[in-house]
Amino acid sequence: MKKNKLNSYNSQFFLAYILIAPAVIYLLCIVGWPLIETFRLSFTNSSIAGEDYVGFENYEKLLSSSKFSKIAIRTFVWTFFSVLLKLIIGMIGAVLLNASLRGRSFFRILVLPPWVVPIAIGALGWMWVYNGHFGILSGIGIRLGILDGPFSFLAYKNSAFIATMVTDIWVGVPFVTLFFLAGMQAIPRDLYEAAYCDGAGRFSRWYHITLPQLTPVIITMSLISAVSTFVSFDIIYILTEGGPRGATTTLIIDTYKMALGNYKFGKGSARAVMIVIMISTFAIAYFYLLSRINKKVSHG
């Protein structure tokens, strides 16, 4: 009798759904509903005072404003270079930590702090590094004669843009390194040994074995990094609050300021929806790319 019950599909479905129900219901309330509500609010002029339906007005204003397109382009540039450098530095880091050197396991622990420490606190450390009067970068620059006086990296448009990007890269590198390293360790050793016997050098082995074998991990990491970089908030908010004169205002900072700085929920929501659309486009492109690569792999 009991055995029958175990195989009975009805009771299994029921139990399966019961077990995931609490998590799913919670997520529907805290993530699902807010997502729908964001869409709804984006068609209103909602604020602290109340709300009225305004149709596509928020979007029309948004898409016709040159300020918004500037912010969007800036966000893309910021994200693109940040992700690219995260991947490159992460790859270099993984290769270095994968080398059979003394102290390897220690290095592997040492790389993780930027990821473990709350971003807000890491950003404070960088704020200090970038400070013109008492930061180490400016200090070294003056000693070496590159700078002729204290230089506040966060006070000028271009340097602030690069400085926030460097901090974002710093936050992302350990995670990327970790995954690349794990990916490298999963590559069968005999591949390398065969290539070595055929006389392939170090670089050629990396280029012809490591890189292609890592492709799925590289694609995964580029998506994860791109999404988290695109909506990276803490770093910019703490370092520059989007300044100087808007030079580091990305879409998420703009959305935050509009919605919770000025309490213009409607306009803020329209911006949030634009972000959701852009992230979803990323994700769909990613899955398309991934499925094509998988097909290639499985069909030889």
């Binding site: 077990l19 799913v24 997520l27 964001t38 000693r143 390398y192 909506v231 919770l260 992230i279």
Partner: protein
């Protein structure tokens, strides 16, 4: 395989040094700043060394910001609460994903990943309204309730991978001996997967600790409930910024997390990367 030649070895170590200068620079700078007397910090040009470094700021910071201890407590309290509730939601769900086949299984797993993509910042406006509606703004719950939601998806993925490693035969044997599904979950699966649950808990804790900043500055304005990440701004006074104490407090605030992490890093790294690399 070929051995490293000496020049290559030197080159590798040099590269590792440069890499770690980048990784550790802000921490070293933070620690260094916390040791300097305040008047010294503003001395220009920059001094790489001076002979009056001390741990004075680590004592004085408790007087400058009397609630500092409270902030650190708040951070821990909220992160632990978030972790606890996350596990409560995640253990049954992950078990279900690992053991059963049901319609929409794969689909819902992808949707979970998608939740990860909408970090809290995108959903702040309705969350703000939701919390205001339930009168939860300016309470611990304002930071805990959204915190749990954003810890759930990755935790499910992590724990599911662990559950899948436990042989089904064990459960079937218990089932034939007359154990119920709930018995199996709590008497067999839970003890066997303690390491997996521990990794998930640590992941959730680190995530919860890290994401407090956004929720704290948005949903809470009461000092007594502030976590350390937003409490640090109190070192910025009307007259002067007590930088050295701020840095000292930051270090004290993250120290416990770092220690926990260093001891358990092996399991976390394995747990996090296992799933991603396999796929």
């Amino acid at each position: 395989m070929d051995k490293y030649s000496l020049p290559l070895k030197i080159f590798l170590y040099l590269s590792i040094t440069v890499f770690f200068i980048f990784i550790l620079l802000p921490f070293v700078e933070m620690f260094y700043a916390s040791l300097r007397p305040l008047k010294h910090i503003f001395r220009s040009p920059y001094q790489f060394y001076s002979d009056d470094l001390s741990f004075w700021a680590y004592r004085e910071m408790w007087n400058t910001v009397p609630l500092l201890g409270r902030y650190i407590f708040n951070s821990f309290f909220m992160a632990i609460t978030v972790t606890f509730f996350t596990l409560l939601f995640v253990i049954p769900a992950a078990y279900s994903y690992a053991r059963f086949n049901f319609p929409f299984k794969q689909g819902s797993l992808w949707v979970l990943l998608a939740v990860n993509m909408f970090s809290g910042a995108v959903l702040l406006i309705p969350l703000f309204k939701l919390l205001r509606y339930f009168d939860l703004l300016n309470t611990y719950f304002a930071m805990i309730v959204p915190g749990i939601a954003f810890c759930i998806p990755t935790s499910i993925w992590l724990l599911k991978a662990y559950f899948e490693k436990i042989p089904v035969e064990l459960e079937e044997a218990a089932y034939c001996d007359g154990a119920s599904r709930m018995d199996i979950l709590f008497r067999i699966i839970a003890p066997l997967s303690t390491p997996g649950i521990a990794v998930t808990a640590i992941y959730a804790f680190i995530q919860a600790y890290a994401q407090q900043f956004l929720f704290a500055i948005t949903f809470n304005s009461i000092r007594e409930y502030m976590p350390i990440v937003s409490g640090l701004t109190e070192f910025i006074g009307y007259q002067s910024v007590k930088w050295n104490e701020m840095m000292a407090a930051s270090i004290v605030g993250v120290f416990p997390v770092l220690i926990v992490f260093i001891f358990l890093q092996k399991y976390i790294v394995e747990g996090l990367t296992a799933g991603a690399v396999k796929n």
